[in-house]
């Protein structure tokens, strides 16, 4: 980042990097607050309602008030829970969600890490969150939460396979797992991977939506059957951390999708007078909007449809995409 990563380690550089990481954390938290506001507004408009409009101008302070409310709620830890696991589950779930953002390159100069296994790092760390969800559901010692936790794990592991396979076409085309190299490959060839890797993109879009546990794949927290799923017993800020995890993953997954398929910070049509970070943000917001749009449009699927769709639909398609890319590359088309 701005050349600091190339220099020898010193405590001054360490401090700068730590401050930059704190700044990113604040940006992510701000994004989460206004993503929730934006989501409620968008869904409100789509259902011909107004959405939040009471707290502050146009309801802009609604989520700020919600966070404050959660902070001053009493923290109830029921008697029958497995206390230690119950308390650490939100942390286990949240920490990886922030760690994966370290791998994302935002612009040519603004990146936090430059590791050769960036994509593998993202896949590996993001799957650790599942442990937190299962622990939270099990430790609550509540029938709804264990069902929600089990469903959540079954769903997330099933959709993780096609999600990770959908990257493989891109890895084949670039021969690198480094996310900066992947963006550079798109800039150099002048074509974003959404076009040559369209099948991979569609698989990613669907599997990513399921990984985030968002509607139409929000079975783990299907409120009309399971109350709230794996966080039934959580209250106050512990509950907030499970929600936060979900939205931080929205941030991370949309950023990853921009990096992999939409050319990262690359300006389309030679419109380079708009700064790269703005391009990144625009593409990013488009994908975030897609997630909210899907929530307002699709009804929730049934659990058997959900599991069968992953194993009988997405995984064969993702495998086919890998082999197709390899064959086309051998023939010299890519």
């Amino acid at each position: 980042m701005f050349g600091i990563l190339d220099q020898q380690f010193s405590w001054l550089n360490f401090t700068i990097l730590a401050l930059a990481a704190v700044a990113l954390l604040l940006v992510v938290l701000l994004f989460v607050m206004y993503a929730i506001y934006f989501e409620r507004k968008v869904i409100g408009w789509m259902q011909l309602r107004k959405g939040p409009n009471r707290t502050g101008p146009w309801g802009l302070f609604q989520t700020v008030a919600d966070v404050l409310k959660l902070l001053i709620k009493e923290d109830v830890v029921p008697k029958k829970v497995d206390r230690f696991l119950f308390l650490i589950a939100p942390i286990i779930s949240f920490t990886p969600s922030f760690m994966v953002i370290a791998a994302i390159p935002f612009t040519e100069n603004l990146y936090f890490t430059d590791i050769n296994v960036g994509l593998l790092y993202y896949g590996a760390i993001s799957s650790l969150s599942i442990t937190g969800i299962l622990l939270g559901g099990w430790a609550s010692n509540n029938k709804y939460s264990i069902m929600g936790g089990m469903r959540s794990v079954a769903q997330m592991i099933s959709y993780e396979v096609p999600l990770i396979m959908s990257f493989l076409g891109i890895v084949l085309m670039t021969g690198s797992l480094n996310l900066r190299d992947i963006v550079h490959a798109q800039i150099d060839s002048g074509i974003w991977f959404i076009f040559p890797q369209f099948i991979g993109f569609v698989v990613f879009l669907i599997a990513g939506n399921a990984e985030l546990n968002r509607t139409p794949f929000d079975l783990p927290e299907a409120e009309n059957e399971l109350v709230a799923g794996y966080f039934v017993e959580y209250s106050g800020f512990r509950f907030a951390f499970f929600m936060l995890t979900e939205y931080v993953y929205t941030f991370a997954l949309s950023s990853l999708m921009v990096t992999l398929f939409l050319g990262g910070w690359d300006a389309p049509f030679g419109l380079t007078f708009i700064p790269p970070i703005v391009w990144f943000a625009l593409k990013f917001l488009l994908l975030v909007f897609y997630l909210f749009w899907a929530r307002a449009t699709f009804p929730r699927v049934k659990i058997q449809q959900l599991m069968e769709f992953a194993w009988k639909g997405l995984i064969p398609v993702a495998l086919f995409n890998v082999m197709l890319t390899a064959v086309l590359k051998t023939l010299g088309i890519f």
Binding site: E74, K79, K80, P96, F98, T113, D114, L168, W311
Partner: protein, 123 residues
């Protein structure tokens, strides 16, 4: 250039620490000062739609979930094998493509077998 490797993992450590500090600082730090503490025996019971909770939730669970977990392990390990192949595909060329086709074919046979055995059905 050599420093970038160690520096990157230093940054990842910073992210890890921040990800742990934030929940600790809010739940056990600021939250502890701001939130009320007013325990009552009714509050500490497990929620079960307003009824008295019966039995224990930490019980043996439907085996179907574990079958999917086994399938997941098979396919995730397969993906792990696919990654190095994909990275080195340029150097390996046609021979590796045929080899990988055989490997994927064997796994697809496994998937078809599970499909026909109705393991993938969720009833």
């Amino acid at each position: 250039m050599d420093y970038i490797y160690s520096n990157s993992y230093t940054v990842i450590t910073i992210f890890l620490l921040l990800g742990i500090i934030l929940p600790l600082a809010t739940v056990w730090g600021v939250g502890l000062i701001l939130r009320p503490k007013n325990p009552a025996p009714e509050k500490l019971t497990t929620y079960e739609s307003g009824l008295e909770p019966t039995g224990d939730a930490m019980v043996q669970f439907n085996v179907r979930y574990y079958i999917f977990a086994l399938l997941f392990v098979v396919f995730d390990v397969e993906t792990v094998f696919l990654y190095p192949w994909a990275v080195a595909f340029d150097e390996l060329g046609l021979f590796s493509l045929i080899e990988m086709s055989i490997f994927i074919f064997m796994l697809v046979v496994g998937l078809v077998y599970a499909w026909k055995k109705k393991v993938l059905r969720w009833e």
